[in-house]
Symmetry: D2
Subunit: 347 residues, 4 copies
């Protein structure tokens, strides 16, 4: 069964499974005192060309909520898009970790935060004294929930607005690998070099078992982060197995190779569909996701063929095709053939 | 100086000051064990023609946040309008008291929640499992922050939608008196009889010193409310002085007389401005507030004349005129004369 | 009926009622923008011989919880005594405002925090990394819940320990007036001059209607306190009535005269009971409270006589006699006569 | 190096590593929709001879905090021992998840909650109205943090007291396997059959990679638990790998075999030390932990030999020897030989 449902339905990449097996030998300090975890910050500092502090956790929601909660006071406001995973998919975790802070969604095209909108909303703040909650953090997803990307200069523009209003700038990088691979930039280019302060670095959706990391680019934002992680129940005891995933993930650019496979699948599908009038691609296909509007009979037909995907609730007749690293060229070919077959055989 | 800045800048009504003085005699049980407080629930039950439980507090934000916090689980969502006081003027209090629950603002005309919009947003929920926060409460202000009103049948329509989705229906009645007086209905008509479950009953903006009450129409929603009030630091020790305000406020329809004065001032101004092309009334004037767009020179002129009002940040050139119970017919006449003078003498 | 139940059952002092009446004239800025409130910080700075920031609120629980919540991170620990009002009488308010921080009660004689115990508990911290919550705040009541007092040098000793461990030092001054009056010191002597950082300054139990103030001695601790107060629903709109209470309370040493009356009543009772073997005074009588163990028949007899007091749950046969400013010399004489009568007439 | 530092420093048991590898094949529904996770509740219901709902998470702190947070209202009190992991090792997580509820530690011998103490503390509650936080939950660890055990009848006695006061009874079973194995009872005997309502079932300390489960014995306590888990960031996406650990852990009694090895090592050490006057065993050795007071030179000597253990901060001269499943008979023999050597060669 060819699965476009979600990249987190894919199995663990063999290199990462092997890395887990390798560290399963003898005893080791728990809670991150082990030597493997000891390497993580250094290796990530190399990767990001910047001194960073890294806090591994097991879920993306934990990474996002801990990061946003740590930098947002309880009387604060977090700005995000209307499609933001932190807003609509995490059951209020960020508000919980931020002690009741508010999420304020802003409307934008293609799932992206738009600089003029953000600037205008922030400009309207500040005249209402203690009555208004305090603008505290900006969060954007890279790649976005719509499969689109921010270019480095777009991030810089948002960062400038954020700095002007003393907002901490957080990036939800659940699909950070897909973004870096597709943009052909360095990890630094779209993070600290463009003004991002804190990153949720995802690995699970791109081949890890359960490994994400909060990467902090400013040392002052890392103070007592460890205690917040503990208090949230997110400090795993046998940390070596989590750190091993992260290290093997970034070793020899494995993360980019995996992401590249997923991205390539998405672009091949986009290309294959481009000539078809009965397949309307909704958002620009820039990473590993496609949102496609098909006539009803094609959706039914593809389902019957066994292809797995989500019909997307925001628009009737739209499906989301989320490509994982595991999809092969043949998988994509089979899918495109099936689409063409249903196009030419309307019921 | 004639003051349209806010109704909470008015002094305490003399009847209420007197009631405070009268109870200042001898010792009395603290924390609500006194006999004056003992009368409050019964008198309010009479007023609302329904058994109610009443919890006096000193601020409207406390009433709203305690009410919403008590009925919303921490993984819940509270629906409100984009102008809602609970959203934009209370520094996130509702989210704090609800343990981090989310506020979701919905757009509507004239500061009112619109039934089709609410129905459509709620209909889109429920398919996303534990990932989505749980729709828990609906809150509307009566009168609204824009000075408009919900008719009983509008409230019923919203209540039906709320019930269908198991939402608790809360009414922010900071200006409840203005609404009852203007609608010419009973307190029951626009609360429990129309499906409201819990009410923040305001008195401070309409002549009290510092007195609001959470009025609960369903006994099951009152369970442990007292403990929540204590935990928020909102159980005043010398409760008799708070209860005396509430009792004198509703005695002999004082609250409606006071509100009627404020409403009448607003409608007189609306009438007086209606013929002027350089005064555009923005929202329907249904209670005690007007939002009026004036040319710049009129705003400057009125300010120079000593009239007090807020220029409203949402629209350049718009002022809010909030009428208190204390404004006299002469005050209004003076104001209208001044406007006409500035209209005929453009700079 | 002569009332020893609680000082918060007493009425409002006439000077304070008058002050409230005086400000009830014309309109005034709300939310503390008025000129009366504008005077509060200056007058309190004079009183404390130190620049202070003052945040009026209506309840002692609000003052304590806001103060402790503001200076304690959510992963923090607040140290208090086992009898502390913040621990046993405020339904967890401090933990709520501190985002879930822990209260750790320490045992001490006569309701007082003991320096060696505090030092020893704090010394045992710090070796357990992120696993342990962070010692953050120390709170003591002055006067204590047992009616005892800390001398300035005792406060200094506690403060030194607190500073050594970076704890913020909070004083619950619900009965601060009674302490200052009894110690014959200045307000400064037992606060900032001895190392206290933040004070809940109580007035309600000593003659106000509903007026307490958070007094902050270090400007850095006052940052965003106003927003926290708003978020808790504790910013009253008609602030002038609250500020007027506070100003009249400290004017011409009214607060000390009132407290002196209450303290004198307590010491007269203590003296009157001192010769009686059937009246055992439990804690040193240093302020306005007595805890006395009487034989059962005396307790019953005094109740039957109409004297009002609480039988204290911590020790069978013990009553608490809390003296308010309103007790007269005659009240005390009548009480002592009654006690002697019951002593000499055992049932 | 022979490691007594903690059982969570041991590697993953080979059977569990194999189970993880086996499920790493093809795609599977994420967030627990997969067929492996689908089996977990049924298999655990068999194991516990009772219909249970099971919520896998990755850390013991998450299991405890989610469980206690779910059953404790924000104005509640959680009773625990002074040594409780939830109190001293989890950085306030339970208070965080319970919205600021209070932890109240009770003193007891050998790290165990004592029924008379609990009964007496609970009996003193209930007369103080809204001022007092509400007794809500009781939590005990089985095995305890001191390596001791509760017999089924001891649990029943505690449960009766808890039920009388409407407390939910939670068991922290981080070392539940060690308890079941040592007591020779069934899992049911020391949980629901004795009155436990909700269990944190640990596997990580006994051979899993990162796998714990909240096991709920009463369906009404499971309502919306999933949403709380999500909101805490504890719903792992690739759940099959977590469920596979849990299933292999309980298959063919693997969990009891592993625990038995650890317990046997502890009892062999206890036996080996029993004749030595310079080794004082502090708590009864009933599971897999020993707390032993040695003379200083023995502690230094064993360290120099390379044995790994914690010097325990609560008592100078005391070490904790925590035995993991991985310790062999030879390891224990070597350790005992070393002790005897140091005993006979005092420096």
């Amino acid at each position: 069964m060819i699965n476009f449902r979600s990249d987190n339905e894919a199995p663990v990449a063999s290199e990462i499974m092997e890395a887990i097996a390798i560290v399963n030998c003898g005893t080791a300090y728990s809670y991150g005192g082990d030597s493997i975890t000891g390497d993580v910050s250094a290796k990530f500092s190399d990767l990001f060309e910047h001194d960073v502090e890294v806090f591994p956790v097991t879920t993306g929601t934990a990474a996002n909520a801990l990061a946003l909660g740590h930098v947002t006071p309880p009387y604060g406001v977090i700005y995000c898009t209307e499609q933001a995973h932190v807003l609509v998919d995490e059951c209020g975790a960020a508000g919980f970790y931020a002690g009741g802070a508010m999420m304020r969604p802003l409307r934008g095209a293609d799932g992206k935060m738009e600089a003029p909108m953000l600037a205008s909303v922030l400009a309207s703040h500040g005249s209402h004294g203690d009555h208004e909650a305090w603008p505290s953090a900006l969060t954007v997803a890279q790649a976005t929930e719509c499969g689109t990307l921010y270019k480095p200069e777009e991030i810089s523009t948002l960062a400038e607005i954020a700095k002007r209003h003393d907002l901490v700038f957080h990036m939800d990088g659940a699909r950070f690998a897909n973004a870096v691979s597709a943009l052909g930039c360095t990890p630094a280019d779209i993070t600290w070099r463009s003004g991002v302060d804190i990153l949720s670095f995802g690995a699970t959706k791109n081949g890890a078992l359960a490994a994400e990391a909060v990467v902090i680019f400013k040392p002052e934002l890392a103070v007592e982060f460890g205690r917040q992680r503990m208090r949230g129940g997110h400090l795993v005891s046998k940390m070596r197995y989590l750190s091993a995933q992260l290290l093997s993930y970034i070793e020899d650019d494995l993360w980019l190779s995996l992401a590249n496979r997923a991205n390539r699948a998405a672009s091949q599908i986009a290309e294959g569909l481009s000539g078809l009038t009965s397949a309307e691609i909704f958002y620009p296909v820039e990473a590993n996701a496609l949102f496609v509007c098909f006539p009803e009979h094609i959706i039914r037909g593809l389902s019957k063929d066994g292809f797995l995907f989500h019909e997307w609730p925001t628009h009737p007749g739209m499906v989301r095709l989320m490509c994982s690293y595991e999809l092969s060229h043949d998988d994509v070919t089979l899918f495109l053939q099936a689409v063409r077959r249903h196009v030419s055989n309307p019921v």
